[in-house]
Subunit: 448 residues, 2 copies
Amino acid sequence: MSSSTEPLLNTGEMDSNMDPTRKQSLDVMDSDTEDKLVDETNIEELVKELPQATDRTVQFLDNLLAVLPNRWRNWIVRTIFTLLMVGSFGLIIYWGPLPLMIVTLLVQVKCFQEIISIGYSVYRVHGLPWFRSLSWYMLIASNYFFYGESLVDYISFFYKNMNFIKPLLTYHRFISFSLYVVGFIWFVLSLVKKYYLRQFSLFAWTHVTLLIVVTQSYLIIQNMFEGLIWFIVPVSMIVINDVMAYLFGFFFGKTPLIKLSPKKTWEGFIGGGLATVVLGMIISHVLCQYEFFICPIEYYDTADWTFRCEPSKLFQLTEYELPEALRLIFKVTGLPQTYMMYPFVLHSLALSLFSSIIGPFGGFFASGFKRAFKIKDFGDVIPGHGGLVDRFDCQYLMASFVNVYISSFIRAPNPAKIIHMIHQLKPEDQVNVFNLLSEYLNSTMTGV
Amino acid sequence: MSSSTEPLLNTGEMDSNMDPTRKQSLDVMDSDTEDKLVDETNIEELVKELPQATDRTVQFLDNLLAVLPNRWRNWIVRTIFTLLMVGSFGLIIYWGPLPLMIVTLLVQVKCFQEIISIGYSVYRVHGLPWFRSLSWYMLIASNYFFYGESLVDYISFFYKNMNFIKPLLTYHRFISFSLYVVGFIWFVLSLVKKYYLRQFSLFAWTHVTLLIVVTQSYLIIQNMFEGLIWFIVPVSMIVINDVMAYLFGFFFGKTPLIKLSPKKTWEGFIGGGLATVVLGMIISHVLCQYEFFICPIEYYDTADWTFRCEPSKLFQLTEYELPEALRLIFKVTGLPQTYMMYPFVLHSLALSLFSSIIGPFGGFFASGFKRAFKIKDFGDVIPGHGGLVDRFDCQYLMASFVNVYISSFIRAPNPAKIIHMIHQLKPEDQVNVFNLLSEYLNSTMTGV
């Protein structure tokens, strides 16, 4: 590998401004600090230091399982830690919405760290200490922005009369933007000639990671605000789909599904999909019966840590007639023609179809990414599973879908929010709205 | 350069799934198709084909100017095309808001093309035709999303009773998300083993470009909706700052400002800044007097292409007292103690300070980017200036600032929008809001 001996920009106009000693310094630049990016010839060398340990097991488990063949050992470790994770998930839900949000934040931070670490190894910027600080600064700034945006709603519901918070809410966006601009200027000032290419690459890497991790974990929080069921059902569906696809693939898998993930099979894909639809409906039906899961977060009473609300239409048992096509069959077999069901259970069908058909593409994407950088896992925090990103790859895509689904098909303008907006108007505008509304109601509802 | 002879993932578990012929294919891979990214040793070779022509002039101008020394020739070409651009900008403003929005869109598309072309050259994916289509598909999808988001407001003002548009507005976000998911799946399915690294890099490149270009041109459109003054004043400030910094630097420049842009000087920075503040206030004062510039877009009457509105407080002459510190000096010199001014002119101070202090960092960032990839310009569409991105680098940062500034300090909840939201409620909720509001007004305004 030879270093470039060209000046940065070779136009006559620029040359007059160039210090000749700077040209010299390029000539003597040693190949280790040369400004180059990723090269297939050395990428495995670069990522060597990343934690990689799907086969790592806790020591005492390892000894216990030593007698079993490799395939079964991995199976058992994976199962134990799947159950552990599902158990802890249940426990955190039991603790209520605030711990859930904190855990979401922690998962986000760990995912960010795992993805950013790959960037550091690949672009070898260990010699540029500012870069690590800059990435974390950007993480904090973007979290302040996004979590702030959801907390604005939350806080304004609970502390309607706390005037000292008002400037923090009103100027929240301005403060966030200022934080970002500081990071941006910091980046520009930290640019070092030798490293331009790597610094810009890593800056882009940071932004894409923030886009994936922070914006989508913000969407998760937003979903929770609509009622915990909008968080628990989708998360469970992805877990069920993962586990069931693994089981169906393990026992019946024959036909490879996609080159990117050679372990995935059509049998796993289809079996997992069917299981997700059925189990998703059952879980939805059960959760629909508890106020804890169906009440939007503004009905959470922090005095005794419970939810109290009138269930919306979505969570009231409704009579549904069978579709035309099935009526005859059911008539012949003597089964009833109408069924009582929560409307949410029908919506759960859309969610389970997305999680089992489109969801796996989040996994394929992560697979391809790992192959591009020749790593086996994103990290080693969960024995038998790898890093957090390895487990949460599809969750983020799912969360975006749920968020869009809610905003398109579920959420209606909220009277409480409208009243809150009117309170912020100038007195004369409040009277104005009142008069317009009274006029409108008189004209449209002469029968009421 | 030697090709890697390692399998993609070298763990025992994976190896069993690996086709031995695929390992072989890696061995015989020729270095031209090798999956490597950017390397300083060949980056100049890669970007050679990009249009680069700051020194290019229109042929007849070239002949005319042949007698002049190089430095002056460039100066004159640059001046002619600056004046041409400022003139066309004025003409487009005269045509009204719709042509302005279309031009904003066209500028955005051209900027996208310029940045994306650099990615293509650098990652040499000419052999992967899907990639070019995928990037443009993403551009269309994200524009549909963002322009749709602003048009939702716009359309709902003008076509309040056109029910057939309603589903398009209500499901706009869902349609956009579906378009994105299609692009995402398309990307995953288009992954080709040899090119993983380059494909992921270019996918990230596309996303960062969309983030810079599309989201920020959406913010520009949003600013226009608040009144054309929020678009024209910031754009003019950046132009003034660019031109004035160039002039001050050209005539008085001595002290270099930043290594990234060796032609920039402290003299230009300070002179340009002062000129921006002064000229910004003058332009603001003039524009404040015309309804065409100050009325929000919902007061645009498409019947006779004019704006008609009651100027808000921001655009009404208001008496201001001098700050304490200046009072004595003004008293001694016999100047008046109070002045009539539009409040907007005071806000213009914040804008001009941002555009002259922070704005240039947008330019430094673009400079650093060009140096990282060893290109002189982003394109060659404007003789004497380079590509569109070379001229619009600071405009995008400025537009974000203006947007945040408006949402933090200017925009108040809008009675018309609130009434529109109430109309979308269910009848019983409308009555509910009415009762709550009537109660609230009775309790707070017993004096009105």
